[in-house]
Symmetry: C2
């Protein structure tokens, strides 16, 4: 998606070899016009796939997931990072490693909100090494839900997960694909 | 908002005197049609107030905040609960007490995303004792931003914060106002 690539080039900051700061338009401050265009693009890509649910992981994936859910007219569910007092028993759970925070955490979703009848589109802001995505896929497998594919705002191709998942036959569509990035240069996959 | 009240009566569960479970349509699984209607209602209420930014606190407020931001055509910012490696210095921060989790936590927002030029609509899913809302208001005050008002999906009137804030002259608009709730009965303020 040309517009997202241009915005990355103009507004994102490369903080390290692995961390791209997009807080000014995609994370902490969200440009809702751009968000709506991205959501529509994803909805168009997956429009004939029988998706009946959008799924993401809290918290940074929620904005794009909600926008995609609205654009597709389907509900959105999100896997939560901690067991809260409002989530009673009967959950699917799995463990995810975060390289950003260098820690493992549990994610879970109530069995009421993910079932074998669901055809799920997995949505997230970033895809790099794919640990969060693998966690979402695992939750779908536990529920017997069909994983239709993934839609990502920014894929860091050098993280490897996108290509690995595609080689396994899983559909991954990313609006911007960063081949490499360094202090003053971001290169997109063409 | 009649439709939200009806949905609460049909689908919400009262887990205790203070906890209302709305996971099946508003939290963990989000009904995006209802979400869109709620966002439009809020956008209509505040349409002539010069709002140029919607603000919320992660994570459960993000869905409604993003929907409101899209409906109003303004950016959305969210205060984050932990200092992440992607948020460098230069933040406003405050401490919020969570009764749900019985703990204090820090919330912060980058100084880049909240300024004295902003006219901010504060959006959240619930308002009860108002600790999260007071935290957001404090962040706005630190930035010198104008607090236009608050928009809440479900206000628990018995929590007291809504009326307290209104008595201080702060505008609080709630789509559903629960006067009291018990095992088999939820009463709305008329």
């Amino acid at each position: 998606m040309k517009k997202l690539e241009e915005r990355i080039l103009s507004d994102a900051q490369v903080l390290s070899d692995e961390i791209l700061k997009v807080g000014s338009f995609l994370n902490q401050e969200i440009d809702t016009d751009l968000l709506q265009e991205m959501a529509q693009e994803i909805a168009d890509i997956y429009k004939d796939c029988g998706v009946n649910k959008v799924m993401t992981i809290e918290a940074s994936g929620i904005a794009i997931a909600v926008a995609v859910g609205m654009a597709m007219g389907v509900p959105v569910v999100f896997a939560k990072k901690h067991k809260t007092s409002n989530l009673d028993g009967g959950v699917y759970s799995t463990v995810v490693h975060s390289f950003t925070h260098n820690t493992d955490y549990s994610v879970m979703i109530s069995r009421d909100y993910l079932t074998a009848d669901d055809r799920v589109l997995l949505v997230d802001d970033f895809l790099a090494r794919g640990k969060a995505m693998r966690g979402l896929m695992d939750l779908c497998d536990q529920a017997g839900a069909t994983k239709v594919g993934a839609a990502i705002q920014i894929e860091k191709c050098f993280g490897g997960a996108g290509d690995e998942l595609r080689s396994e036959g899983f559909r991954v569509e990313s609006l911007a694909m960063i081949e490499s990035m360094g202090k003053d240069k971001i290169t997109f996959r063409s």
